[in-house]
Subunit: 143 residues, 2 copies
DNA sequence: CCGAAGAAATGAAATCATTACAAATTAGTT
DNA sequence: AACTAATTTGTAATGATTTCATTTCTTCGG
């Protein structure tokens, strides 16, 4: 699934490429660490000094609208993004703040809940919160 | 599960009662519509003019820490809250913004994903987004 | 190759949810 | 009543995100 390029990933999802959009897409594909808009901006800005934060926000919205990326609301502090659009869950460590990918046992997630008739599901997400292995081993009493 | 009172719901979860905490808890139990902190504040303020928004935020954090309520991050605009702490999923209609409860087929949600060893899960959530039945029927082309 | 029209990007200012903090109030205890 | 701790209050700060008017690119016909 990493066999595609940032450019193809844009065009395949109907996003007209630009230098900025390519940069954001490339960053997302190379950093599957669920970065926030601000993290992406700060990482890209040195090499692309004219990049504006608004453009990063606009691009991320476009990417999620077109299905080229996923928007995660697992962290109440800020939205973060994932270029891996295949079905998987996420785990937020409330100690270190890191968001981990978690594989799913079944891919047909909709089967899990009884969505009432007439409702049309467009996105689904499974979020876990807790303490990750690293924090648990290094951690204090509450871990 | 609605067989308890706001007062009991507080004390059973180790929350020392106060007029403000009771008011917030009572509002949550009577309005299972997943209100935000601001909605709760605006609803309670007329009858309790000295109530401050900070207290609402503090109380909601306390309630979720003690397990007397659930914090939902399904809406990226603001966190919202649910006094129903039994396992169930949520559906956000991106048209009207309403958050619906969705029953689960299986209650052992952790079985669903492969949480790596050493990770300790403290909360789990299943979120759906899409178009609710009401918006779909009233709705425009995209519904 | 040139210029118009539309699309995209920029940057500054506004918005809005949430938090920080210090002062005031209330509750609990001797 | 007096004292201490817990709670509440209100204002100010923070910080993510959006708005919007202006500027810069693209594209495309002539």
């Amino acid at each position: 699934m990493e066999a595609t390029t940032p450019l193809r990933n844009l065009t395949d999802h109907g996003v007209k490429p630009s230098a900025q959009r390519l940069a954001v897409m490339e960053y997302l594909m190379e950093h599957l660490t669920h970065p926030s808009a601000d993290e992406i901006y700060c990482a890209l800005h040195p090499a692309m000094p004219t990049l504006s934060k608004t453009t990063v926000y606009n691009t991320l919205r476009l990417l999620t609208e077109k299905g080229a990326a996923i928007q995660l609301t697992i962290d109440e502090r800020n939205v973060c993004f994932d270029a891996d659009t295949t079905p998987h869950a996420h785990f937020l460590c409330t100690r270190c703040g890191k968001v981990y990918d978690v594989p799913l046992r079944e891919t047909n997630l909709e089967r899990q809940a009884c969505i009432p008739p007439g409702f049309r599901t467009e996105q689904e997400a499974i979020y876990y919160r807790g303490c990750c292995a690293r924090c648990a081993s290094q951690g204090q009493a509450d871990c």
